[in-house]
């Protein structure tokens, strides 16, 4: 495996993960929340690829492919719901959907 130690790869994945998480917390627009969600999922995928590389094991990449498909499915359903939200409330602001509370 190249000289790059695994820790750095995992570090990058962790940073990406945290950025994605913050993205979900900060952005009010539902679409950008989905984007942040994608970032988080791919961060996990990256971590798997790095780990797979470290152990010279194909499972890492198999898991990455699974995560990709999962992410795709989630976003698909997510966009469908976002579309519904836009059609119903005229905005994509996540906080518009606040009727369920208390």
């Amino acid at each position: 495996m190249t000289g790059l130690p695994m820790i750095w790869g995992l570090g990058l994945a962790a940073i990406l993960f945290v950025l994605g998480l913050l993205g979900v917390l900060v952005r009010r627009n539902i679409l950008f929340m989905l984007v942040s969600l994608e970032v988080m999922l791919n961060a996990a995928g990256l971590a798997f690829v790095v780990a797979g590389a470290r152990w010279g094991d194909a499972d890492g990449q198999v898991m990455f492919l699974i995560i990709l498909t999962v992410a795709a499915a989630e976003v698909a359903v997510g966009l469908a719901l976002a579309l519904q939200l836009f059609r119903r409330t005229g905005s994509v602001d996540a906080d518009a959907a606040m009727r369920l509370r208390g």
Partner: protein, 505 residues
């Protein structure tokens, strides 16, 4: 993959075939009625195939799935719950006025989710864990937001999507850390492989615990539950409350049992803290709750707080206690939500979730109110109901694992729980004078319920009181779950890493 492997996977295969047939049938006209027959049939067949699979148990089918007594009994519970939900959904949606919604997709999504749940019960490998979990939660998204023409399900779906997405990402990252540290994805192997980065494994397990906490709606990851329970239609809420949580519990129990995660302090302390917070917080949140579905959501938070006691106790008794508790709780929750779903308080076809819908219900719908009261008593754990047997196991597990603090939480939580369960139950019997809504708005005749609906309610009542009085059949079945197969997975050929230091120090 010899014949025995296929036999072991019989329930999964039956469902898969049913799903494919469903997809094909969906195109034909009149497919709604066909699907109405196909779904329950598929579930019943899967149930029937369980004993066949039992012969070959315990059996490691591909490194991903371990079909043992534990997995089969859990599958049984999930299939029964799914069957009840399927029948309930048909009856509940039939009651809606306006043009009947297309239920084929509903059934398909349901079967897909059940398939994912079954995979989870047998999973002993990260990949089967991930596939099972996602196969369970993504159809759920669509199920929650199924009634497209109403705002609340949409909002619930959105919230569930975002939170589920975050928790799935957390889960994957956690698994990645464990994989990075140990190099193996097999649960049993994780414990045995020495690793250079023990901190990663602990962190990974904690992240898995967080994802599990979300799925089981434990405090502080619980906030989605009340909104989703209220927003989603009653049958879907029942599904979320029973099938998805049961599958995740089964997985978590096996994961923690195999990896011995609860031996190290971090997961143990965080799980105990979460459990205690859920027991007390869940009950407190429900104290003066006016919306019945939200009340059931908070009560489920509390109940899964109680369920952590068997998880922490671990061992064969822990598995048995956990399963018994889940069985008791599932039947009770589906029963309660059946009444919520089937009771049409007024012409608008909305579900009966307001407090006023239940005020003095006993005078107008004695049987329905009686059943609802029975469910509430079971949730409170009053003897002669199945809920009491569940409480027996929770207490027993608490004492077996000598978790005194959690036992105290269990007692305090149940006492608080008594308050709002009985407050609602007493409201049912309130004299007519005190009732808020006009009595005649309610379709007075009980014939409003279709035949399957009444059959479903009767079955639930019989199960609740029957098993409450004579729990031996359930207990015998549950006893088998305890036989958590400790069979060693075949040693995977893999170069052993240089440093040999077990991560558990």
């Amino acid at each position: 993959m010899v014949f025995e492997d296929f036999l072991a996977l019989a329930p999964l295969l039956v469902l898969a075939v049913a799903i494919v047939i469903g997809l094909l049938v969906a195109a034909l006209p009149g497919s709604d009625r066909m699907m109405a027959g196909l779904t329950p049939l598929a579930l019943v067949l899967a149930l029937a195939s369980l004993p066949m699979a039992a012969e070959t148990a315990p059996r490691l089918v591909t490194p991903l799935l371990l079909v043992d007594g534990y997995a089969l009994v859990f599958s049984g519970l999930i299939l029964v719950a799914a069957l009840l939900v399927a029948v309930l959904s048909r009856a509940a949606f039939a009651g809606r006025p306006g043009r009947p919604p297309r239920l084929q997709e509903f059934d398909l999504l349901l079967l897909l989710a059940v398939l994912g749940a079954l995979v989870l019960t047998g999973a002993t490998h990260m990949i089967s864990f991930v596939i099972g979990l996602e196969l369970l939660s993504i159809p759920l998204l669509a199920l929650i937001a199924y009634p497209r023409d109403e705002p609340l399900p949409l909002e619930a779906g959105l919230k569930y999507l975002v939170i589920a997405g975050v928790s799935s990402a957390t889960l994957f990252f956690g698994l990645a850390l464990i994989y990075a540290a140990t190099g193996t994805m097999d649960f049993a192997a994780i414990a045995r492989t020495p690793t250079a980065h023990p901190a990663f494994v602990v962190a990974g397990l904690v992240l898995v615990l967080v994802a599990g906490g979300f799925k089981l709606s434990l405090i502080p990851f619980h906030m989605w539950a009340p909104d989703v329970y209220q927003g989603a239609p009653a049958p879907v809420t029942a599904f979320v409350g029973t099938v998805s949580k049961a599958a995740v519990f089964a997985l978590l129990f096996r994961l923690f049992e195999a990896t011995g995660a609860l031996a190290s302090p971090a997961p143990l302390w965080s799980l105990s803290a979460i459990a205690f917070a859920s027991m007390i917080g869940g009950n407190l949140l429900a104290l003066l709750q006016q919306n019945v579905k939200r009340l059931l959501a908070y009560s489920s938070i509390a109940h899964f707080g109680y369920l952590m006691v068997p998880l922490l106790a671990g061992g064969t008794f822990g598995a048995e206690a956990g399963l018994a508790y889940l069985a008791g709780y599932s039947v009770t929750l589906i029963g309660a939500l059946a009444v919520v779903g089937l009771l049409r308080p007024d012409a608008s076809g909305r579900e009966a979730e307001r407090w006023s819908d239940y005020q003095g219900l006993f005078r107008r719908r004695p049987w329905l109110a009686g059943l609802f009261a029975l469910m509430l008593l079971s949730l409170a754990g009053i003897p002669l109901t199945l809920g009491f047997i569940a409480k027996l196991y929770a207490f027993a597990a608490g004492i077996d694992g000598a978790a005194w603090l959690l036992l105290a939480g269990l007692i305090a939580g149940s006492t608080i729980g008594l308050f709002y369960y009985l407050r609602l139950a007493l409201a049912l019997f309130a004299p007519a004078g005190a009732v808020a809504g006009p009595a005649d708005a309610m379709p007075a005749d009980a014939t409003g319920l279709t035949l399957p609906a009444r059959g479903l309610l009767a079955a639930l009542a019989v199960a609740l009181v029957g098993l409450g009085l004579w729990p031996q059949p359930l207990i015998g079945l549950v006893r088998e779950a305890g036989t958590l197969a400790a069979t060693e997975p075949p040693a995977l050929s893999r170069p052993d890493p240089t440093e040999a230091r077990s991560w558990t120090e």
